[in-house]
Structure formats: C-alpha cells, structure tokens
Amino acid sequence: MAELGEGSGSHAHGKKGPVRAKKQSTRVDMTPMVDLAFLLLTFFVLTSTFSKPKTMEITFPVPPDKNNPPPPMKVNGYTFLLTKDNRVFWYSGEFKDAPKNGLPATTLTEVKFGEDLNKLLLDKNDLVEKAILELKKKRLNKEIEDTTYKRLAVDAKGDPKSPFFVIKADDKAVYRNLIDLIDEFNICNVGKYAVTDIMMSEINLINQATKE
C-alpha cells in the first residue's frame, strides 16, 4: 500500500526539484458560523420583548372606620358609577334620596366612554385644565423649566377649588372600565379622584336606569 501511494505521489508531482508544501488557503469557510449567527439573531429578535409592562400608580383611600369617618361629599364633586355592558353614569354633588334643601333628588346621567366622557371631564375640570394649558405654554416659551412645570402642574391639579371625582362600581362592572375611566382622568388632568365602595341606594338607581 505504502509503495503504491509513494509511486502515485511521485507520478503526480512529475517535476524534479524540492517538494514544496502545498500552499494552503488562509480562508476559512465561514458559512456555518454565519448560519449559526443569523439563526441566533433571528431567535433573539423574535423572542425579545422590549417594552416592559407599564403601570398606573394609584393610591386608595384609607377605609373609613369609627375614628376616621368618611368625609362628606362636597357640592363640588362628581361621582361616576360603573356598571355592566361598559356603561357609565354620573351625578354631581352629594347623593340625595329625596329632595332636600330645595335641591332635587339625585338622578343619573349616562355618558359614553370616549369622546363624550372626555368632553364632560374637560368641561367639569375646566379650572385645572386651563391652568395646565397655561403652564404648558410657558414651558414651550421656555419661561419655566421642566422641573418647575412638573411642580406647578401637581399644584394646579391639587387646587382646592377644583372638583373632586369619585369612582364607584357595582358587581357587574369589569376591571377594564375602571382603568379606562382612571386613564381618562389622567388624560384630562384630573388630580383629585378616588375609588370607593358603592352604596345600596346608588345600586338601586343604576338598576332603575339600566332597566329602561
């Protein structure tokens, strides 16, 4: 075997002189590596999710007890009631079962999510809205810094003269409605709002309204 190999080798070289080492190409076939790299790349591109879930920060009121009775609902306040089929009702001021002090009993008004709600909130929250717009204009004109703007915006939202908004939901409402409503509050610069428990008398009113 060895002889045969030697023989054929000498035959192939043919020429005389020093046997040169065959020049080996310095190039390595990179195709498999590239394949792998792209495979990994595709995998990571497809599996990675960049956006972290966003959150909405909310502080719930301390539940009322003996030492801490619930504050009376001021006249300057609006209550939103959430119920089934994504319906929202609202009334203003204190809840009244029957006419009191010359004011009529509470009646509910329905409002649709979306533009109607947005308009309603902008209208009711007019005071804060105007102040925020004013501040935004100042920021655009570089009259105030961003940090100053933030501080003043918080102050404007907490204006004691601005109305207070209360969210209540009955047992047929879904969580999405709550988020939608809070989100709308945030969009309309409502700074003062709270989620509280619904009263029986309010449930009755909702039931009446939804039956119609």
Partner: protein, 219 residues
C-alpha cells in the same frame, strides 16, 4: 460536448463585515433579552396612556378573567423565605428541594394545601394544573398572609442590601418593594376590589396597576 466557459469571477465574497454585524446584534440581543417566565395563566391587561414602567421589586398579584388570584414576589431568596414562613404558619412541611423549586417559580394560584402538588408538577405542565386561585375569603385569607410575609421578607432584604451597599460605599441599586396588580380587562371588578381590600386591610394603600401602553391624544 464542449464546456461553455463563463468569465471567471471569484464566487466567495468577503463575509467578515456581515459576520461582525451579525455577532454584534446577537450579543446585543442576548444581553438585553430577559426571558419572560412562563405564567400559569394568560392575562390581557387593559391599555392606558400611563408611561411609568413596572417596578422591578414587587409583590405581583395576577387576576385571571375568571377571577382567580395568583401571587408572586420578586427575588429568589425572598420567595423561599416567604414560603418558609407560610409553611410555618399553616403547619405544612416542604422538603428542601420543594423550597428550592419554589424559589425558581413564578406566579401560582393554589391554596397552601395544594401547593406542594403544584411545585412537584413539571414546569411545562403547570399551565394545565387546575389552579383554583389563592383563597382570600374572610375565614381563610391565605392571600393576606402571602402578602404580609412577602412584604416582611421583601423589606428585610431591601434593608440588608441597602445597608451592605452603603457600608461598602456603592450606590443602592435595589428599589423598595412595591405592590402591583395585573388584572385581566374582563375580570370582574368585585374580585379586584376584594384584592384591594386585602391590601388596604394590611395598611397598604399604594398600588401599581399594570396596563398596556397605548398612545394618548396630543401630548
């Protein structure tokens, strides 16, 4: 048959820049990717315009569309210690292996009595486990205990890490423990209210409600 000779050009082109780029991107994606842990339940959160990102260090309550409640807390060690405390309170023994496995686990929605069965289920099969949600009625409020012990352990760990960081003059990177609620948009409000009541009973009033980001109107 005579061969047709094509003008010869070198068919191998220099792939080095392409490979460089490909590996650069691969490295980038490997380093930035954080794998989403498999959740035992699929939850579609409602969308909002809020831009705050999810806190890193948190007690996370997940509420499924059917109103089942799931619990988890960030941190491997915190989870293990929380389980040890729960086991102590409910007089249920867990093996060291089970506790270790629990540390690696994400959300779960079973009662203490069924927990060891859930831990011993293969991770891939956990989605099919008949999770009933963590009990939170007034007579058997296990959720409240999970939150309470989790909060305790979370705060202890935060303090330890903060002290250690301050002692060595490093910057404090860990965030204080927060409370997040991830509820499905179609979950009944009552369940969410129950969960919130469990929190407020523990004197925790500030939450992060998880939402999907949605572009708001003109900002």
């Amino acid at each position: 048959m005579p061969k047709i000779k094509m003008p010869r050009s070198n068919p191998s082109l220099d792939m080095t820049p392409m490979v460089d780029l490909a590996f650069l991107l691969v490295t980038f994606f490997i380093l930035t990717a954080s794998f989403r842990n498999p959740e035992p339940v699929q939850v579609l959160t409602p969308s909002s315009t809020s831009e705050k990102i999810m806190p890193e260090n948190s007690v996370l309550i997940t509420i499924s569309p059917e109103g089942k409640v799931f619990y988890t807390i960030s941190g491997f060690d915190v989870r293990k210690k929380t389980l040890e405390r729960m086991a102590d309170k409910y007089k249920i023994k867990f093996t060291a292996k089970e506790i270790e496995e629990f540390g690696k686990m994400t959300s779960f929605g079973v009662s203490m009595q069924n927990l060891s069965k859930f831990i011993n289920t293969e991770p891939g099969q956990r989605e099919k486990f008949p999770s009933t949600g963590i009990p939170m009625d007034s007579t058997n409020n296990q959720l409240s205990d999970w939150i309470r012990f989790g909060q305790y352990e979370g705060v202890v760990q935060y303090k330890d890490l903060k002290d250690a960081a301050e002692a060595s003059g490093r910057q404090v990177v860990i965030e204080p423990l927060r409370f997040a609620i991830k509820a499905d948009g179609n979950a009944n409000f009552i369940v969410v209210k129950e969960v919130i009541k469990t929190f407020t009973d523990l004197k925790i009033y500030k939450f992060n409600l998880l939402t999907n980001f949605e572009k708001g109107p003109n900002e």
